[in-house]
């Protein structure tokens, strides 16, 4: 793997445009339709997410990008009255097939939410929660090791290492969000879904999260929903544009923001609507 430096990363990536679909496909979505009761929220979505890239979903509010993200780990199951049609293949297995173990699926597909949602427990127990419920390890030194690693991966370790036993709710907003990322990383998922992870954060906390996303894609496949098009341009390799529950365009991020194929995409990106 080539060594990536942090500072000139835009230029580095510009020099080698990220290839689409050359790697292994991690998630393949086929003809996905989604309904809240009688209202259809997603129309015939087909999309392939390659392994170890960052894919951004953009689009105006209510366009279905968050709903689509939540179909990838079946989080919509908990909302009463929802219905799904079509297929979501993860490593070629349909996650909506009867008999799918949803618990195991969510272990493989981690999620970070728009609003940070730490549990009212200590910092340590928050990160250890997923490890404990999934019985990853019963060895307490191994548990501490994995918690430490997850906090390091989420770039939070140095700020909290001396107060792991204090309440997670005593952290600042940006720290809480990184804690939630650490919590998701602790169980080492294969895919990480991020639903506007930085929308409630200040610019400094946002840039920390963005740097983090850039580092994480070495190990994880990341799908991020964002309202912020600059953010999509900064962190992602590929971008998908949603409008009114339809997938309008998927393209390499460089191409998407310079010369999109679709007129609608161009109108949205240039601020003509949305």
């Amino acid at each position: 793997m080539p060594v990536q430096t942090v500072a000139p990363r835009i230029e580095v990536r510009a020099a080698t445009p990220p290839p689409i679909n050359t790697g292994k496909t991690k998630v393949a979505v086929r003809d996905l339709n989604f309904f809240y009761g009688r209202v259809q929220a997603l129309h015939n979505i087909s999309l392939e997410i390659p392994e170890r890239i960052v894919m951004a979903f953009i689009g105006p509010s209510g366009c279905g990008k968050s709903t689509f993200l939540r179909t990838l780990n079946r989080m919509n199951d908990v909302i009463p009255g929802t219905r799904v049609g079509g297929q979501v293949l993860m490593d070629d297995r349909d996650i909506y097939a009867p008999g799918t173990d949803v618990v195991e699926l969510r272990r493989r597909v981690g999620m970070v939410f728009q609003k940070s949602n730490p549990f009212p427990k200590s910092i340590f127990d928050n990160v250890a929660y997923g490890l404990r419920i999934n019985r990853v390890t019963s060895n307490s030194s191994e548990l501490s090791g994995r918690v430490e690693q997850a906090l390091k991966d989420a770039a939070l370790w140095n700020e909290v290492k001396d107060r792991l036993k204090t309440s997670a709710l005593s952290l600042s907003g940006g720290q809480q969000q990184r804690l939630c990322i650490a919590r998701a990383l602790a169980i080492r998922p294969e895919v990480l879904l991020m639903d506007e992870p930085a929308s409630a954060l200040d610019p400094i906390a946002t840039s920390k999260i963005e740097e983090l996303i850039f580092d994480l894609k070495k190990q994880y496949t990341i799908v991020i929903v964002t309202h912020n098009m600059q953010q999509a341009a900064r962190v992602s390799d590929t971008t998908a544009f949603f409008l009114l529950g339809k997938l309008i365009e998927v393209n390499a991020t460089e191409k998407m923001f310079t010369a999109p194929n679709e007129k609608l995409t161009e109108d949205y990106i240039t601020g003509r609507f949305g």
Partner: protein, 280 residues
């Protein structure tokens, strides 16, 4: 200009009037409570002594105390809490987390109806289903009657407290691969624990003042309890019996017992608040 000044003066006057009115109402309510408390303390403190707290009732003129009633009340509260709190909390969890739609609505309606049942009816009901088949009054029957009063109170407060836990917290745990029962036990209930404990405390305080359901079930006793299977004394029934007696000495003892009962409820309140103070 003049009109504006008038309107302004009117607004200030109304505001002042309303503030005074609410302050007066608050004062009235609080002073009523204070008067009750000081009156009971004033009437009761005279007969209070260490001997009074540990002795059992004696015939008129020989002193005696309420030791057996204090113990009996604690035993009854323990029995009723052992049945009522877990059941009530489970119903609350069902209503908030699992029971959606019609079944949940029906259960909620039943629980609300149960809250409104006069406590003497509960006493008669337990008399019919427990005391008659067993052919004698018992502490157990008294505890069950009190538990039946606790369940709906605990269930509804638990439900309300669980509903205050943000949905995002449940989703966070689910997204980590937690099954629903682990989300409920490991995340939702701990997050709502102080509120649930407050509900439990309210229920305990409420039943510790109940007399009517105990008349038909625990009955009362002039001796220290030796088994849960026999009639047992309680502060409330003791107060009732002494208050309707014709003896001045027993009247004074009833006041003292009332003071003890109030202190007991206050003590339970303080202990539970201490145990459930916010750790995180």
């Amino acid at each position: 200009m003049a009109n504006y000044g008038n309107a302004d003066r009117m607004r200030r006057a109304t505001s002042g009037l309303m503030t005074t009115l609410t302050a007066l109402c608050t004062l009235l309510a609080v002073s009523a409570l204070l008067i009750i408390l000081t009156y009971i303390a004033w009437q009761g403190i005279g007969s209070l002594s260490f001997q009074f707290l540990i002795d059992r009732p004696r015939p008129v003129g020989e002193g005696g105390g309420i030791g057996n009633a204090i113990l009996g009340s604690l035993v009854l509260l323990l029995i009723s809490s052992a049945f009522g709190l877990p059941l009530g909390i489970c119903v609350g969890v069902y209503l908030s987390e699992i029971g959606r739609g019609r079944v949940g609505g029906a259960v909620r309606f039943l629980v609300d109806t149960l809250t409104g049942i006069p406590s003497i009816v509960t006493g008669v009901f337990v008399y019919a289903i427990l005391v008659l088949p067993m052919k004698h009054f018992s502490a157990l029957a008294g505890g069950v009657a009190l538990a039946m009063i606790m369940i709906p109170i605990v269930a509804r407060t638990t439900e309300e407290m669980l509903k205050l836990v943000p949905h995002s917290m449940r989703e966070g745990a689910l997204a980590l691969g937690a099954p629903q029962w682990r989300v409920i036990i490991g995340v939702v209930i701990p997050a709502a624990a102080p509120g649930i404990a407050t509900g439990a405390m309210l229920a305990i305080a409420r039943v510790s003042g109940e007399t009517a359901p105990l008349l038909f079930t625990a009955f009362g006793s002039r001796f220290f309890p030796t088994s849960l299977n026999e009639p047992i004394a309680s502060l409330t029934v003791q107060i009732y019996n002494y208050a309707i007696s014709p003896y001045d000495e027993w009247h004074a003892q009833a006041w003292a017992a009332t003071l003890v009962l109030m202190t007991l409820v206050l003590g339970i309140n303080i202990i539970v608040r201490f145990l459930t103070r916010k750790k995180f």
